[in-house]
């Protein structure tokens, strides 16, 4: 069994190496033979050089400056979204009056794509960090809130009834029955929020920023440094992937009772 599995994995990685390697070779050939001008598509070697340039300090600021600029904004907006979104979603599921007041407003605002808030955020908060924090917040709060709501709603009434019959009061039912049963769904929402927050941060940095990875892309565009543009996409993807995978591992740790759900 184990051997079959490892053979399968080996075959998969062989395919991966061939397909990604083939793509890179094709990319290199395309630029090398001038099928595409290196002005619009830098050769892979230039991109690697540009990554090193960013790491070693592009335009006088090191990688760390861009990393911390992007990270601080994303985390701030994200944490505010969690602390507002999860309790609001839970109380909407629990208290009909809260639901009645907030649900129509949230459903009205929800179809507006978060990036559409960028210009308004600039008007309201200026061009410093706080406008980006706001846009990230808008993007991140929706999945938090909806999943907190869904999670509480999905709690099996049988469990609640059983607990009530055993004499548990409202608070005990909430903390001992509803919360554990809702937590997996809530955590999934929080994870989706993180992805949204990161994507929206990049959008916001493309529009208004003086540091950060999105800024690197748009600055490369403005200075016609195509290799810098391409290079900046790598840390963005890496951080996005690391956050998602890290969160999945964390979920497994935090809620071992979580039933597998497709995602």
């Amino acid at each position: 069994m184990n051997m079959i599995f490892s053979r399968k994995a080996l075959e998969g990685s062989a395919y991966a190496v061939v397909s990604i390697g083939g793509l890179i070779v094709f990319w290199w050939l395309a630029v090398h033979h001038n099928w595409v001008s290196s002005f619009v598509l830098p050769p892979p070697t230039d991109v690697v050089k540009a990554i090193l340039r960013i790491v070693n300090g592009y335009m006088g600021t090191g990688l760390w400056v861009h990393f911390s600029a992007s990270m601080s904004v994303v985390l701030m907006g994200y944490i505010i979204a969690i602390f507002l979104g999860v309790p609001l979603g839970m109380s909407m599921a629990y208290l009909p009056i809260v639901d009645r007041i907030f649900a129509p407003m949230i459903m009205t605002l929800r179809p507006i794509p978060p990036p559409a808030w960028i210009p308004l955020a600039i008007l309201w908060f200026g061009i410093d960090h706080s406008s980006k924090v706001f846009v990230v917040f808008v993007a991140a709060i929706v999945p938090c809130l909806l999943n907190a709501y869904e999670g509480v709603r999905q709690t099996s009434p049988k469990l609640i009834n059983a607990a009530e019959m055993l004499g548990a009061n409202r608070w005990v039912v909430f903390s001992e029955v509803v919360l554990p049963s809702a937590l997996p769904v809530v955590l999934t929402g929080i994870r989706i929020s993180l992805g949204n927050a990161w994507a929206t941060l990049v959008a916001a940095e493309l529009v208004v920023a003086t540091a950060g990875f999105g800024f690197l892309i748009i600055n490369g565009y403005r200075n016609f440094e195509i290799s810098i543009m391409a290079a900046a996409m790598f840390p963005i993807a890496l951080i996005g992937a690391a956050m998602n995978i890290g969160f999945i591992l964390l979920e497994k740790r935090l809620v071992p009772w979580r039933t597998e759900q497709k995602n």
């Binding site: 619009v40 129509p104 794509p113 959008a203 195509i226 996409m233 963005i236 993807a237």
Partner: protein, 267 residues
Amino acid sequence: MTHVHPPGLGARWLKALDASSIWLSLIFWMFLWFFVVDIFDVDQSLLPNPAKVIQQVVWLWSNQVGAGGLLNHISSSFQRFLGGFLLAAGVGSVLGLWMGYSRRADLSVNPVFELVRYVPPIAWAPFSILWFGASFGAQVFVIFISALPPILINAHRAVRSIKPGLINAARMMGASPLIILAEVSLPASFPLLFSGLRIGVATGWMALVAAEIVAGDGSRSGLGYLVLIGQQTLRPETTIAAMLVIGLIGAAFDVGLRYLQRRIIRW
């Protein structure tokens, strides 16, 4: 839960109350917005009151901003959206179905897909402006990139979800591969395929607005352009009016597609 009452007078009353509570809540928030602006004397260049925003929608309809009136902006946004979405729907469903059928295709396309999956679609915007120009091609490309994953993943899943028993049964009754594809595989995979397309519409519409904003005021048309130009000319009523229209169209897409889904897929 087992006993279903026919909707009597009481139920109808409750339903009416339910519907009216939505309007009540919306009216409450509108008034709150109105009075907050009024009482705190909020600067009109920061937040106009809701009446002004509604007025601005009407004003935009008949007056020219950038390339034309509101209808003009809506139609150019719509054309970009349609271009990118149709491209993603075509490529995504074909590639996804193929990956579902052939293990080799799956193994070779998947790594590339995983590689670019974590790049937020909007990060491609500057590249696509460079490659395809700021006014049409850039948005089409970004919409394509962002609508492709949900369509592809669901097409792939759709093929995988077909029960082998169904195909075997058809084969046993002598159906040719083409008949199996048309009569068994496609109907069986259609529901998942369709929900992929629906998600693709939502992500594509979102990407469009982002791409139009990143493309800047160079394109002079589109709803995202209106959002941006409202900020640049310190007219938040234009920005909010355009956001309202964007949200309404997005919601209309979703409602329409859900309705279609229920109508088409009755099995």
